[in-house]
Subunit: 502 residues, 2 copies
Amino acid sequence: MAAACKDADSSVAGLSVGKDDNFGDWYSEVVVNGELIEEYDIAGCYVMRPWAISIWEIMKDFFDAEIKKMKIKNCYFPLFLSAGDLQKEKDHMEGFASQVAWVTRSGESELKLPIAIRPTSETAMYPYFSKWIRGHRDLPLRFNQWCNVVRWEFNNPTPFIRQSREFLWQEGHTAFATKQEADTEVLDILELYRRIYEEFLAVPVVKGKKSEHEKFAGGLYTTTVEAFVPNAGRGVQGASSNCLGQNFARIFEINFENEKGENATVWQNSWAFTTRTIGLMVMVHGDDKGLVLPPKVASLQAIVIPILSNQDADTHMIFDACASTVKILNEAGIRAEADLRDNYSHGWKNSHWEMKGVPLRIEIGPKDLANNQVRAVRRDNFAEIDISMSELVEKVENTLRCIQENLFNVARQKRDSCIQIIRTWEEFTEALSQKKMIFAPWCDEEAVEKDVIARTEGSMGPAKSLCSPLDQPPLTEEVHCALHLESLLRNGPIGEGATDIS
Amino acid sequence: MAAACKDADSSVAGLSVGKDDNFGDWYSEVVVNGELIEEYDIAGCYVMRPWAISIWEIMKDFFDAEIKKMKIKNCYFPLFLSAGDLQKEKDHMEGFASQVAWVTRSGESELKLPIAIRPTSETAMYPYFSKWIRGHRDLPLRFNQWCNVVRWEFNNPTPFIRQSREFLWQEGHTAFATKQEADTEVLDILELYRRIYEEFLAVPVVKGKKSEHEKFAGGLYTTTVEAFVPNAGRGVQGASSNCLGQNFARIFEINFENEKGENATVWQNSWAFTTRTIGLMVMVHGDDKGLVLPPKVASLQAIVIPILSNQDADTHMIFDACASTVKILNEAGIRAEADLRDNYSHGWKNSHWEMKGVPLRIEIGPKDLANNQVRAVRRDNFAEIDISMSELVEKVENTLRCIQENLFNVARQKRDSCIQIIRTWEEFTEALSQKKMIFAPWCDEEAVEKDVIARTEGSMGPAKSLCSPLDQPPLTEEVHCALHLESLLRNGPIGEGATDIS
């Protein structure tokens, strides 16, 4: 049988460059060859293939069920925004103006007024919040929508990461009677984002608060989960949960009668995660053979491959063993399939499913058949295990759990080895040139941040602040902002403590 | 307690017009007052509130699970189409040209080429089908996506029905090696659409084939589920499942090597259902008190309302009974909530939940408490039933089942009473003027259909063919096309048989 395989004209599209050699090129290849995306004939747009959408759907199902437990309701607001509403909040508009795509024509007719495609939906939703909220019993009002948004970036985007021009996300928009309730929700949602990254994607993140310079345009404060990509030496914002304060509420007049019968203004949050999650997972776990999918988000957790001998008599029995192995795994809730195609060689199939990142390969050959066992090969570390059919489900479940844990532990170890704790400006610039993730004491003043950016332009930067982590080291001594403007250098202790910068 | 209720300043927004008095106005009011939608500040766009989205999600969950069983995979193609791809299929382009919204600007910059927003995704997807399909083992290729599409209608749309300018749908796009496989899928999907209407929305439909004049632009044939709205005297296409034949495949060069090693062209289908489903459900079941939701699609199947006496001592016990009733129902998988708000009267709450169409209202007052029972009131026929707490789950489940069945039976009875079977042109025009759904023998010739449209313009029409039903009456005699051009009148029997026309 194996002799008939057309290896020559059906070779797996391998990677032409290693992850450590040219990370950017490696990434561009692996997302296409791993069948997550295809380039599209409109620059900056991508086709999301089923292999990517199935990952998105698993995260979506988890998050949607969690927010429904929190009594948050899904809705759907239009794709289109009027220019008037979009411009109501000045900082917000300035933050998005250069990226807005405008519809000016329908059929052959010019529209009277150009219409914006949503880059985000604050300005679409909040006029209705104003209408729907009358008294304290209408609060909290907690909405979410799953939708597409468009941000027309002029730089060529990195698929998933530096977003494509259209991307998928959820956006939550909520209103509360008190700041305290809003603060609590901000952190509840942030914890869900942490779980998506750490429990599902096996990507370690740091929870923290964005600087004034980096926070959401028009909001009060922004919390974030920050991931780090060692190969790029770059921190990437994973998702953000914003407290908008009362700024939008004042502009859109979202007021209510409180319990005392007085007129009051609501406190608002907005929060979102996007398909960027998928790109970060690829960057963190992928290797020179292709994607490496954590079992929890893999739509296919185990691929079963027959290893055929030259004896035709064995073929049927091996095929049957593959099919019944899949059946047993499926019945136990494990997502498994058999690749019984007879026009591809065993070697081709190995490479193919390694490129697609399937967590576990299960091989069944004549020897396995004789021993009533299968051979399992892990995608994460290529370890091979013989599994007796009598223990199949238990051992496969256990191995998938180990792969999930191991991916997270390895990623955390790599991330941690890139962390540099610094105390002085000299240490800071040295660590920056080594593309480290830097923990530095700093004052979180906008002037200082702009000065740091200006001073690190060029080969080593510019430096970008990631967040002030929520978990701070105890202050056992006087700490000074290591990045402080020399002319403003102060001697007092700095409240904000450590900040991630990369 | 009841005395404190602010009925005066919080009256339920009732309907100013009856369903039989002015159906159009009634519909416009009921979709807003029932909290399904809000008007939006861009004409022809609507906000879909949680009450509407929860219905959509229930249908989506059902359909998505069914197509996944059929090995159809979800993907996501871009919102944007290049003008070049959109224009590749001439009939298709002509079918959509006048409705296409064009993006011509991003930020302050004019785009080099205008970019279309998808009215449908054939032309986005099929270049990739051509790329991905090489040999017969790549077939069938079966994709679906859940997304928004934009069709910029110039007439003021009817929310949900004569689509808003943006609407939500699923679009399936599949390719097969043989016509037979494509034909089979067309009917499998049509059956899922029938189930959505009849089993979920309790709306009776007729399965059939569209005329040449009405079929999908560029396709081979179109099957449809057709609903009828008695108050409007109008048939409405509920969803369509199209066989595209090989037309698009030839234009987009979707070819494959078949089992004999020959070059062959695929057979394609496309199929879609939209948020129109929600509008049809409202039109068929709604009444002068508001929406009437079938239990299967109601996100809230039972609302529990306390009936308070003037004795404060009872209040806590009644509230506790309401809460424990909800708990018991929820644990049995029934979607129930209690409305314990103390600032609304019992009467206000009744009107409010009737307007929103909740299938069952459960009242608990002092007498019920004493008798260890609840009183249930059906939304569909206002029948009242006392239910002993010991039989709560069983009786509520049973009542919800009865409501679902009754809504369907009543709707079918009303629909059937509007059907007129005709044999001559005179009977046809008479039935048309009475806004009947007409079953007529006809020849399915495009010239005849255009002539019928021309001859029925004005007060009574124009007549519009709905479909040739898949279930045809047996031909026991010679049948002539009752609508045939007089000049072409033939005497031979007509193969196509009865057609729904309204």
